[in-house]
């Protein structure tokens, strides 16, 4: 039978062309065009920035300082050393920042778990936070991978759909705020990646003997994937460069494993109300595979849910005699440790579940001494000597333990 090529061509030509509305090539250019048309305001990068490359070659600039920290509810709530390590790194490098009270969660976790929201509400929450940053003059830096991915999705929806822009603009008008979006949506791990050589230059602990396995966070590199950072020198440009680039800059070794693309098992609703799935996936598809194929000293990742799921899921698996038992933390916590941060005062590792102490020992950190110092801090709080600890306490400047 002959393939009716001409008939097929005629049929195809007769079809109405369908607009290809997949990911935008250059959302920054689209935003600037909308700003030119008076549709919205773009908050510009206005300090020194480092250029990096995104998946398909677009240049993305990462502002180094004067940053508005869009915190993560999961990090602040359950892994506070994740957030404090990001702040600590920024302080260590001498860059100013703003830690706002005028910030809500992106509400993305709830949205992906329960769908009890809608595009207008999600966009309005995002724009309200961006407007809050814009009012301060500080440029937004997003701590959570889900917030980062979700905001990129919101940006695409606002660019594509004028009716959504009109709806959000009307809501913002009631709040007395403009429809404003930043020139780039930047995840903290992109800031860490862009500044990895500056960070590595301040390393005080030898991590050359440390083997790391990396879990790239889904909402970082799968949601609006074209906007994630890639580098031809890292995985041949076939996988996001963040986290791995930092580990290599610090001098540790990355060991790969076959299920790197798999998610952590978080599932948004699953981690809260259907944890049998999260536990199974995290241990069977991630931790055990890492143990068998890479045998790392630590698992590093760059998102809230991933740290939580990979860390917390191991306890129940251990009870079943599974091949688990790997410490899990963020790239920021690992970098902070390498730069001399206190494991409890700054990195807050006592909030983690999987045993991190062998890693600390391998990094040359006396965790028993560090824990005693932290206990001494707590006694100062309990005695009423201080109500709260501050950054000087975290750096050991208020006792004889530091600086670290």
């Amino acid at each position: 039978m002959t393939i009716p090529v001409e008939a097929l061509r005629r049929a195809k030509a007769a079809e109405e062309p369908v607009a290809d509305r997949r990911a935008l090539d250059d959302p920054r250019a689209e935003l600037l065009e909308l700003e030119r048309q008076g549709e919205l305001i773009v908050q510009k990068i206005d300090r020194e920035a480092i250029s990096v490359m995104t998946k398909y070659g677009r240049e993305k600039r990462i502002q180094k300082s004067h940053l508005w920290h869009h915190k993560s509810c999961g990090q602040c709530g359950h892994i506070p050393g994740y957030s404090t390590s990001i702040f600590w790194l920024m302080r260590k490098l001498g860059y100013d920042y703003h830690d706002p009270h005028d910030q809500t969660s992106c509400t993305g976790w709830n949205y992906y778990a329960s769908a009890t929201s809608n595009p207008a509400a999600q966009a309005a929450v995002a724009v309200r936070n961006f407007a809050a940053a814009y009012e301060t003059g500080y440029f937004p830096l997003i701590h959570c991978g889900t917030s980062y991915g979700h905001y990129k999705d919101v940006r695409e929806e606002l660019i594509r759909h004028p009716e959504l822009r009109a709806q959000v603009r009307a809501v913002m008008a009631k709040l007395g705020k403009p429809l404003v979006l930043p020139e780039e949506i930047v995840h903290y791990s992109e800031w860490v990646h862009a500044l990895r050589h500056e960070i590595a230059a301040k390393r005080v602990r030898d991590v050359s003997g440390i083997v790391v396995s990396v879990h790239p966070a889904c909402h970082y590199h799968k949601v609006v994937p074209g906007d994630a950072i890639y580098d031809p020198d890292i995985y041949g440009g076939q996988r996001t460069a963040v986290v791995t680039g930092l580990v290599e800059a610090l001098g540790a070794t990355v060991h790969d494993y076959s299920t790197w693309f798999d998610c952590c098992g978080f599932g948004f609703r699953h981690i809260l109300v259907q944890r049998d799935f999260s536990r199974s996936f995290a241990t069977l598809r991630k931790i055990e595979v890492m143990k068998e194929e890479a045998n790392p000293d630590v698992v590093l990742t760059h998102d809230t849910g991933c740290v939580t799921t990979l860390d917390k899921s191991q306890f129940a698996a251990m009870a079943h005699g599974r091949n688990v038992g790997l410490p899990v933390m963020s790239d920021a916590q690992f970098a902070a440790l390498a730069l001399g941060a206190h494991p409890y005062r700054v990195c807050q590792l006592h909030w983690h579940s999987a045993d991190y102490r062998p890693l600390l020992e391998k990094m040359g950190i006396d965790w028993e001494k560090a824990w005693a110092e932290f206990q001494s801090d707590l006694r100062r709080l309990e005695s009423g000597e201080k109500r709260y600890l501050d950054w000087d306490d975290a750096d050991g400047l208020n006792d004889d333990s530091g600086p670290h």
């Binding site: 910030q103 809500t104 809608n118 595009p119 978080f266 005062r345 709260y388 306490d393």
Partner: protein, 244 residues
């Protein structure tokens, strides 16, 4: 639960079970109306371009490894506008999705996870049984995020809620106030919210929930929670000088 229509469809092998896993069947017009809402979402055209049947989305999908769930079936049912199958998926499948978006590896550019997001929204908006069931036990989270502006709070780490997370989680619960006061950033000394959110910020968030219809959605799946949230928000908004 009584099944009101639809005899067994032996010839329709793509259905899991004919009675939609125990949920009451509904007239076809209702299914068509629900699908029109899915299709009418402004994102639908951004998420669906066709299907090569390659199965890459299924290979990448974590939920497909543990549940009888397939992102390929989601994309195909939507593309075929198969309202019967779509209704079954809305009652049975969509809450299995992990929303990780591994399925966007699709060479055709589909976003099955995004289609699931839309289907979930429609399920919530219409008070489908699957939505009510999926959100049982989850309402405290909705209350937290809508009323405080942060979804995850330190005091959620109770021993009763997370016994499978190990004794370290119990240590957090036992020392919560003290350990929070030991955190260097002054925004993070809170126990009932992830960080300290300004009162004016909360007012703005409440206005967003009310103006965009997000608060109204709660009424369909949990009227009691909706009443609590509505009263809380109205009171705070009126105190702040807004006419509700």
């Amino acid at each position: 639960m009584t099944v009101t229509s639809s005899p067994p469809r032996d010839t329709d092998a793509h259905y899991k079970v004919w009675d939609v896993a125990g949920y009451a069947d509904v007239p076809r017009e209702t299914k068509a109306r629900l699908f029109e809402q899915v299709k009418g979402d402004l994102r639908f055209g951004d998420y669906l371009y066709g299907c090569y049947e390659c199965g890459i989305c299924v290979g990448a999908c974590p939920s497909a490894k543990f549940y009888d769930f397939s992102p390929r079936r989601i994309a195909q049912a939507a593309a075929r506008e198969d309202v019967d199958l779509i209704y079954q998926q809305m009652q049975e499948d969509i809450w299995d999705c992990s929303q990780c978006f591994s399925c966007v590896r699709c060479p055709r550019g589909n976003n099955p996870g995004g289609i699931v997001t839309i289907m979930r929204e429609v399920a919530v908006r219409n008070g489908l049984a699957s939505a009510k069931e999926a959100l049982v036990g989850y309402t405290r989270i909705i209350y937290k995020i809508m009323s405080t502006g942060t979804q995850v709070s330190p005091d959620m780490l109770s021993k009763d809620s997370f016994p499978d997370w190990g004794p370290e989680t119990a240590d957090v619960a036992d020392n919560l106030d003290l350990w929070r006061r030991a955190l260097p950033p002054e925004t993070m000394h809170t126990t009932t919210t992830g960080w300290s959110v300004a009162e004016s910020t909360l007012i703005e968030l409440y206005l967003i929930w009310m103006e965009t219809g997000a608060l109204d959605m709660i009424a369909e799946v949990d009227p009691g929670l909706h009443t609590i949230l509505l009263e809380l928000m109205e009171e705070r908004l009126e105190e702040a000088g807004f006419e509700v």
